[in-house]
Assembly symmetry: D2
Homo-oligomer: 349 residues x 4
Amino acid sequence: MAGNTYGRKFTLTTFGESHGPAIGGVIDGCPPNIQLDFDAIQYELNRRKPGQSAIVTQRKEPDEVQFLSGIFEGKTTGAPIGFIVPNTNQKSDDYSHIKDVYRPSHADYTYDVKYGIRDYRGGGRSSARETISRVVGGAIARQVLPQVTINAFTSSVGDIFIDKPYQDLDFSLIESNAVRCPDAATAAKMEDYIKEIRKQGDTVGGTVTCVIKNVPAGLGEPVFDKLHAELGKAMLSINAVKGFEYGSGFCGAKMKGSEHNDAFNADGSTKTNLSGGIQGGISNGMDIYFRVAFKPVATIMQTQETINNAGEIVEMQGRGRHDPCVVPRAVPIVEAMAALVLADFFLIK
Amino acid sequence: MAGNTYGRKFTLTTFGESHGPAIGGVIDGCPPNIQLDFDAIQYELNRRKPGQSAIVTQRKEPDEVQFLSGIFEGKTTGAPIGFIVPNTNQKSDDYSHIKDVYRPSHADYTYDVKYGIRDYRGGGRSSARETISRVVGGAIARQVLPQVTINAFTSSVGDIFIDKPYQDLDFSLIESNAVRCPDAATAAKMEDYIKEIRKQGDTVGGTVTCVIKNVPAGLGEPVFDKLHAELGKAMLSINAVKGFEYGSGFCGAKMKGSEHNDAFNADGSTKTNLSGGIQGGISNGMDIYFRVAFKPVATIMQTQETINNAGEIVEMQGRGRHDPCVVPRAVPIVEAMAALVLADFFLIK
Amino acid sequence: MAGNTYGRKFTLTTFGESHGPAIGGVIDGCPPNIQLDFDAIQYELNRRKPGQSAIVTQRKEPDEVQFLSGIFEGKTTGAPIGFIVPNTNQKSDDYSHIKDVYRPSHADYTYDVKYGIRDYRGGGRSSARETISRVVGGAIARQVLPQVTINAFTSSVGDIFIDKPYQDLDFSLIESNAVRCPDAATAAKMEDYIKEIRKQGDTVGGTVTCVIKNVPAGLGEPVFDKLHAELGKAMLSINAVKGFEYGSGFCGAKMKGSEHNDAFNADGSTKTNLSGGIQGGISNGMDIYFRVAFKPVATIMQTQETINNAGEIVEMQGRGRHDPCVVPRAVPIVEAMAALVLADFFLIK
Amino acid sequence: MAGNTYGRKFTLTTFGESHGPAIGGVIDGCPPNIQLDFDAIQYELNRRKPGQSAIVTQRKEPDEVQFLSGIFEGKTTGAPIGFIVPNTNQKSDDYSHIKDVYRPSHADYTYDVKYGIRDYRGGGRSSARETISRVVGGAIARQVLPQVTINAFTSSVGDIFIDKPYQDLDFSLIESNAVRCPDAATAAKMEDYIKEIRKQGDTVGGTVTCVIKNVPAGLGEPVFDKLHAELGKAMLSINAVKGFEYGSGFCGAKMKGSEHNDAFNADGSTKTNLSGGIQGGISNGMDIYFRVAFKPVATIMQTQETINNAGEIVEMQGRGRHDPCVVPRAVPIVEAMAALVLADFFLIK
C-alpha cells in the first residue's frame, strides 16, 4: 500500500535511489521451474541504460543485475527473486547546487512537502534510475508469457509523427536506429530534431506506441481492474507520462457507434480492432495496442528562475547529464510495464 | 483482488447486475463521525439516472439508495456502510434476442470466454448500471473531503468542442443544460447533434473534462501509486472510456521543456500549470485537471451483422432503451471516481 | 485494509450491525459455473441461528439469506455475490441501559476510544450477529471445494473435555445433540453444566476442535501466509476467541524431536500426524486439525460494577437474551472460516 | 499476495535462501524523518545470530546488515528501505545427503509438491535464516513506536516452566543467560536440560511469552483484522510455531464469565487483565501479553528412516549445525514480529 509494489500475484517491489549504493527489487509470485534467460534480461537493461547512443544522456553505467535469491541452478523456484543493480557512476557533486532549490516541474517541491526530507542527489527516489528495477521485473515477466510479443516504439517526437498504422511497420527495425522508431525516414527526422534540441540546451516530449500480440482472451478483472485500466495505471506510473489511450483512444471519442463497432468474424476475431484488443475490460485475443504521452524532460540546460526552500526567488542553470528526449530510452520501460501487467493478470486468471 | 473493490483505505466494493433484484455496494474505511448529507447523495444519483432528459435513455428508474449499516443517528460510525439500490424497471424480454448473440464491441463475447456463463439481461455485470454504486461511494467520499471541489463537464461530443480553457468557464452552468456543458452556445450545438444522432439510430462519443480545486499538497504514493496513475486507472475503469490525459496531456508530448516547465511563485504555487497539479505523482496544491475520452455506445438502433455463440453469422437489430451519447450521464460518474481516488489518498497519507 | 474483508482471491466483505435493517456481505472471486446448493447454505445459517435449542439465546430470528447478484439460473457467474439477511427481532429497548455504560470485557470501551461514536444497540458492529455473513460466505466456499470435508465440534465446555483422539469420534453424531459434541456421554455432561451455568446467571467458555480431510497437498503461501497462520488469523477473528493451536499445538512444545517427527510412508503420507497436516506452512495431504479456545461470554445476568462514559462507577445488571456458552453456536462459524481460508488458498495456488 | 510480504501500510517483503548470496528485504511505508539507531538494529541481529552461546547452533555468521536505500544522512526518507545480509558461512556440502531425501517433519516434501523444484541446501527458503529479515524489519518498526516496550522471553523448555506471573519477573534479566529466561533458577534448569538433549542428539520444544507495554488504545481493525488475530498470524508465520494464545488463552476457555470479566477502574483501565490488553480486537491500553508454542526442531542427530523423491525408504542421519532448542533464538524474532504488527496498525489508524 505504500506505493512501491506493482501487481497482486506477480508482484514487483522496487527500492533504491539514484545516488545510493544500489537500485533493486523483489519479484514475488513468479511461477517455479522457469529456466531464465539471463542474457535477455541484460539485453533489456542495455536498451534502457544511459550512454548507449549520441542522443541520450552520456552518464556511463554498466547496469548489471545481480540476482540474490529465488533461482536455483538457473531456474526459478517459486521463492521471491531479490536483485540489485549497483550504482557506479554517482557524481553527487553535480547536485549540490540544487540541495535547497526546487527545480521547476520536478518532484523536488512535492517530495519536500510530502516527506519533509529529500535525498536531492540525482532526484533521489524520483530519479528515472528507479525504472531499472522495472526493466528487470518486466524482462522476467516476459519469460512467464513467452508466447506473447510486446513491441513498443517511438511514434512521435515533438511534432514529428509516424503517419502509418502500426500494421504497416516492421518491428524488427525498431532497434535499427537510436530513436527506436521502425520507420527509417521518420527516425532520421526525429534524430536530427533531438540533436537540434540538445544544442539549444532544451528538451522535447514524444509518444511511445506499444503493440502486444498473442494475448490469450480472458485477461482482465472487471469492474475496477479492467485490463486497460491496469495498463493505463502502469504506464502513467512511469516518470514524465501525461496521457494514455488504447484502441481508438481520443479519436474514438469523435466517432459514431456505427463506425466504431468492430464486426465479428465467425471465429470470434473481429474485422476491425478499434477496441484495441479489449472489450469490457477483458482481452479478446486481438492485438492490444496503446499510446503513451511523455512530456519533455524538466531538466534543461538553460537558465531558469525558481525558488529555494526558504521561498526565495533564485536563478538556476541546468547541470548534470540528462536526456534531451526521454522517449527512446522509455521504449523498453513501456514494454517492461506491459509485461508486468500481463503476467499478473495471466497468473490471477 | 477479484476486481470489484476500488481503494486501499477508503474502499468501495460493488455488486449487482442490471436485471437482478438490486445494485449495491460496501464502503469500508470511511472515517467515523461524519454527519452525512443524504440529499447530496441522492442528488448525485439523480444526475446519473436514466430518463432525466430528452437526450438520454428513457428507461425509468427511481434509483433510490437504502443504507443498511455503518450509520447511526445520521453519522458514520467507522463500520462498513452497506447499501442497495433496487432495480425496478427490468424488462428482461428486451434482451431475449441477444441471449446467444454477441453484440459487436460489447463485453458479451469476452465475458463468455472468461467466465463460461453470462447473465445476458441488460449486459449483466458489464451494464453501466453498475456505476450507481460508484456514484453512491463517490458522494460519500466527497463528504470526507468537504473542502475539495470537483467539477466535471462535457467538453466535447463528436467533433464539437469547447474552445476555451477551463479557467474561462462558469462551472455553475454545468447543470443548466441536459448535456452538462458549461458553455451555453456549445451546449446547444451538442444537444442538437445528439438528437440528430438519435434519429439516425446511431450513437456518438465525447470527452469529459474534470477540474479539482483545493486538493491539499502531498497526496499520491510514488512510485507505482502516483496520484495521476490512480486517477487514470479509476477513469479507465468506467465503461466506454478509451483514454485519459492530465495537465498538458498528449499536447505536452509535442512541447519543449523550456515551454512546458511551470515556473514557481515564491509561495510554492506555479505561474503556469501544465503539470496539472501533480508533480512526481504527488499533488502540489494547484488545480488538478484531466480529460477522459468516451467511445460511442456500442448499442445502436441499426441492423448489424454479428455472430452467435455457435459461431454462426446472424443479423441483429438494436433494441432496448439506450443512450445516444453516454457523456452527459458520465459526468457525475467521473466526479464520483475522482472523489474516491482523493479520499483514499487523503486517508492513506 | 479497513478490516471488513477476508481473503485475497476468494474474498468475503461483511457489513451490518445487530440492530440495523440487515446484516450482509459480498463474496468476490467465486469461480463461475458452480451450481449452488441453497439448502446447504440455509442449513448452515440454521446451525448458527439463535433459538435453536434450550441451551442457546432465546432470541428468535429466521435468518434467511437473500442473494442479490452474481447468480444466474442457480449458478455462480464469476460476478460478486451480494447478499443480505434482514434483522427482524430487534429489541433496541433492551439496550437503552447500556447507552452510556461500558460493559466489562466487551468491546464498548475500545470502540468508543477508537471511533468516538458507537451504535450501542446489541453491540452494534461487535455483535456476534456479524458472523451470519461469515456463515453464508463459508457455505459457498465449501461448494468451491466439494471434496474437502470440514467437521468442527465442541471438544470442551469449562472443565469437561472429550478424552479421546478425534480419530475415535463419529462425526455424524455432532448434530445429534444441542452441544454439538460427538461423544454422547460427554455431551450430556456439557449440556447439564451449561444449564446449571445459565441458572447461575453466569456463562462459561470452551473449545472447538476442527478436523479437515481431503485437503490437496500444496496449499499455503510461505513465508508469511502459511496455511496455519491464516487459519489462526481466521479463527482469532471470531468473537471471544483467545487461542489457537494446530497439530501437536502447545503439547508439542513439551516434546522431543525424536518423538514429534512424523515418519513418512513410501507414498508421502506420514505414519503419525503431529504436524497437523501442514509442514513449512503448506498442506501435505494429511488431516488438518486444530483447536480454538473461546472465553466465556462477557454478558452475564448478574450485577456488576462498571463505569459510564463520564468515568463514573455505576452498577449494571445483565439484560437482553444471551448465550450461557457460545461454543455450540460457534461450531458452524469455525467451519465457515476454515472453508473461507481453504477456498482462498485453493484459488490462489 | 504471494506470501513474502507482511503488513499493509508498514510492509516488510523478505527474500533470500540459506545458501544463496544474501538474505534481504524491503521495508515500505516507514515514516520519514526517523533518525535510525543502527546499533539497535545490529543488536537485535546479534541476539538472533548463530554461534552466540553454547546452547545454540555453532554455525558462525556475522549477520551484518547493509542498507541500500531509503535512508539519507541517517534518517528515513519515506522511500523504501532495501537491505541485505550476506550469507558467508555456507557449507552446501553439508546438505548433499538430503538432495533427494525428504527429512521428516521438514518442509522438504511440501515444497517439492507445491513448487516442483527445491533448493535443498540448508532448507532453502524454509530455512530459519529467513527470519534475519524479520529481525531487521522489526528493529526498525520498534523505532517507529519508541514509547512501546516489547519484551519476550523463554517461558518453558520441554516440561520446565516459569511458575510465576509475568508481573513478578524482572525483564532486565532476560539477556543475563543464554536461554533468555528472566527467572535465574528456571533458566539454569532449562540450560542444563538443553545441554542434555543435545548430548542425546535430540531436540526439544518450548514456549515464548511476550509482554507489550504502553500500546496506545485504539489499535486493531475489526472485524477480520483484529489486533490479536494479526498478532496470531504473525507468530504462527514463524518457523516451528504450533500455537498462540493471548490474555487468558486456553485457560480462559475453562472459566466462568463472572471470573473472567475485567472490571473497570474509573479511568478506563481494568483491575484485572484477562483480556490481555485487547477487547473486541482493539487495544485498550493495558499490557498486551501472549504465549507462542514452538515444536522441537525437526533435524535431530539420530538416525531416522525416511523416503526419497523416488518414494523409496531410506535411512538418514542428521548432519549440519542445528539448534537443540529453537526457543532462545526465537525470542528476538517474536519481538520483531510483534513490532511489525504494532507499527502497521499504528500507521493505519
